[in-house]
Symmetry: C2
Subunit: 193 residues, 2 copies
């Protein structure tokens, strides 16, 4: 039974506003995959749209192009080793879900395999047809059609990151298996002019 | 006298690999500006290319389009209030550098105004002509032509984030003036299959 709660679509872009490293899931014709992606960003709040770099040589790109969809998972700090594992293995050679014991839930709108354990949030996305940037920069634009989050870290459209929920603080990949995680939240003060 | 050291161009994309919120600087015809941008990502390592969302209504977009260039600054945690200040004021109404006492250095290749105090790194960027994504998604593609970093946090192509340099740990904006900063680095362990 999922402990995630739906996130309103106008709040979905906030799930990746601060640049977390994400997992990308995909499925088509009985095959499925999950990879890690450090390079993603929102491009619009309403409608919720994102851009994400998915190398054209990857199995994920093949499945996403075939289905026109992909999932985005925001892993928590507790999922660091799993994130690195799916980022350094090839889904054409093994089913990474089975190989690493990763449980999935089924996306409500697109039926994508999604991950909730040790993760903060997920988004189901539909590819937007942007062949030029896909070809030139491996940059895929997509619209978010469903989203949900663990309410202990994100609810009512806002993140809540404090010392009580560190295992779900987002991960940010520096390179070569070195990560940072998000600190507890800090509030900026207005500066005098 | 700058304490920054040059970053080799093949390492430049690593400066924003982990999704920090950045500052965008611009100048043209005697006018200049600085804004904050949460939505950016690398799209390629070699040549170093990035994508960044800059709203078409902003003064920054006007100056960047006119000059064909912009600067990207990676602020440290110590620059949180300044980052929020330049993200919530309009450069057409005030010179934010003067208003908030922000010192600049001149970029070595493009002559852009750059910021080093309380910041981890900067990149000088040349816009790539991608009118469709600029129009449709406010997404600007650019190539990095120069980069430098404070060697206490980034040297030899790698980040070094630990308890000794927390004021320069990168910032990540959650929304509405709420930020997280990067934790100390953690190394992922290889999972058994």
């Amino acid at each position: 039974m999922s402990h995630f709660l739906p996130v309103r679509l106008e709040h979905a872009s906030r799930l990746i506003n601060h640049g977390p490293t994400v997992l990308v899931t995909s499925a088509h014709g009985g095959r499925r995959n999950v990879m890690a992606a450090a390079w993603s960003m929102p491009v619009e709040f309403t409608p919720p749209r994102i851009a994400i770099v998915i190398d054209k040589r990857t199995f994920t790109r093949e499945l996403a192009a075939a289905s026109g969809t992909f999932g985005v998972i925001v892993p928590g700090a507790a999922a660091m080793d799993m994130t690195y594992a799916v980022g350094t293995t090839d889904g054409r050679e093994l089913d990474k879900f089975n190989a690493f014991g990763i449980e999935t839930v089924e996306g409500p709108v697109l039926g994508l395999p999604l991950i909730e354990k040790h993760c903060a949030a997920w988004l189901e996305c539909k590819l937007i047809d942007e062949k030029h940037t896909e070809d030139a920069y491996d940059t895929c634009f997509a619209e978010v059609v469903a989203a949900a989050a663990d309410p202990s870290v994100f609810s009512e459209g806002h993140w809540h990151l404090d010392a009580s929920n560190e295992p779900l603080h987002t991960l940010h990949h520096l390179g070569a298996g070195n990560f940072v995680s998000a600190s507890a939240m800090k509030k900026a003060r207005a500066l005098p002019r």
